[in-house]
Subunit: 313 residues, 2 copies
């Protein structure tokens, strides 16, 4: 079933210990869409500038992603400049040029309105809420956010959180949002803010899901946390978009299944890790443009092998 994603389609200038790239295709909605496209139909809502060329659009369309909701505006696309050092755990943001994104007003094409799954990528919670309000027939809403919105736009974010089935954030964001250093208490506080479940990404250590007391879809209230591993990788070329690729694999798999059960949720977390692990192998979207469904399944089995007691290697 189709996922509608709203978020940034952008250009990234990135420096890592493995090299440097200038103005390559990036953005949360881009990484998310590519990862999710291996599992289900994806429709994008975003705004780009005049530097977004047919070759960039082809990255989406060649994966079957619906780009009718990508608005073309005068000016330049959103441009992020960042660098990674040492353990590559965290990006240093060197520049954020919002450009056309500054006046972004998401418009939902009529043909997108029957999307059953909505993903609110990391953008201004005011825009997230506006898109959410227009999508009255969705079955599930999943969202992301970041420190900037948590810190300075708490009231707006609070409204979005109440609408979410799943909130996907990282450890630092969970701590900041909850004001708690303990991960379990942080999760409890975050879930008390609204989302029915929470997936906390731990970077190279995988991810943990937490559930509240309310049942939703096929997941009973009080379901225990689940920990999905990450693959130990000898080479992380570029971590940019790893979290969005995780979200794409996770939500893409969920949307591809007839119903949401705890077992489906668990597998979705594995697929999230799988897509995140591919994403970081090359710069930008390079790896996720060309991975095959067979490679995805192979890696899924590898994730199982490295984390399951009963696997006979």
């Amino acid at each position: 079933m189709a996922i509608l994603v709203v978020g940034s389609v952008a250009f990234d200038s990135i420096e890592t210990p493995h090299g440097k790239r200038a103005k390559i295709l990036g953005g949360a909605a881009t990484h998310f869409s590519l990862a999710a496209s291996y599992f289900t139909d994806v429709r994008v809502i975003a705004v780009v500038g005049e530097d977004f060329l047919p070759e960039h659009e082809a990255v989406f369309t060649s994966r079957g992603i619906d780009t009718r909701g990508i608005e073309h505006a005068k000016g330049l696309s959103f441009h992020w400049t960042g660098a990674y050092e040492g353990t590559l755990a965290e990006a240093q943001t060197l520049g954020t040029d919002l450009n056309v994104f500054e006046r972004f007003e998401p418009k939902i094409p009529e043909a997108y309105k029957d999307s059953e799954y909505l993903f609110l990528a990391n953008i201004d919670p005011v825009l997230q809420a506006r898109v959410r309000a227009q999508m009255t027939r969705v079955r599930m809403v999943c969202g992301d956010t970041m420190n900037y919105w948590i810190k300075d736009h708490a009231a707006n974010l609070a409204k979005v959180l109440r609408e979410l089935d799943v909130l996907l954030i990282n450890d630092g964001e969970a701590r900041m949002l909850s004001g708690e250093t303990n991960p379990v208490r942080a999760a409890e506080k975050v879930i008390a803010m609204g989302p029915k479940s929470l997936v906390v990404k731990h970077g190279e250590y995988g991810a943990t899901s937490f559930f509240g007391e309310r049942s939703f879809a096929g997941v009973k209230g009080g379901t225990r946390p689940f920990r999905a591993p990450a693959l130990p990788l000898a080479e992380v070329v570029d971590p940019t978009g790893a979290g969005d690729s995780f979200a794409g694999g996770f939500y893409g798999y969920l949307a591809s299944q007839p119903e949401l059960t705890p077992a489906v949720f668990r597998r979705a977390m594995f697929y999230g890790g799988v897509m995140g692990s591919f994403a970081v192998e090359r710069f930008g979207t390079e790896r996720l443009q060309g991975v095959t469904r067979e490679e995805i399944e192979e890696r899924f089995h590898l994730f199982r092998e490295i984390s399951h007691l009963d696997h006979t290697a």
Copy 2:
């Protein structure tokens, strides 16, 4: 089969956000022994001072731990003072009084010489090597170390590493020992220094095992890494000894099994996590003195449940 452990039996003065304790029983060999005692016979080699009273010895003997190798010397026992803040990820060492430990010369009682499993807890690698050299009939050697020895006693440590079947260290120690920030390359470099396998502890994120190209016991060379989870805990009262308790659960389980296979190694990593998770629930050794075998099995199943795809909750 019996494990011989050499290491510190000490007193700890600890402050955490949950409270304060002065001079409670601690030390790597203590935490290790208690955790391992639930799985197999344990024999301790250590030195204590006149402040080590019958009530302290009873903590060992009531768990069936052989204390004939604990030497009683004039003076005070080793005393560590530390504090934890925030995420409780790392201790701040406020004081290290070696006391009787300064002149520690491990002596191995005749009755210990048939021990098949040797654990070299975190002490001066010169002493680790000396004990190793005397234990000519052991089937397996597992060891720990810390930043201090890695940094300032590299040559002595190098000799010990060559004797190890398993080296158990944490992320920071693996990075420091290898000079590599990438965990896979760090593991390769560490294994190239001698140990046949490496277990890297990630604190609240579990642990990962790495294997070299040489087969040992029933583990084939080139066996893939394995990731064991940690339990998300709402309350960590005192992290002191968590790593040593992990080691005790891990090695205790290994030693209790007729042969070492990859499946046994995996389960051992889960038992390591289980014992570590109990250890932090109370101050010092309190929790590990009183856990039951039934609670251990229950928690093992919980670890399985939170990490396995096929678990039906």
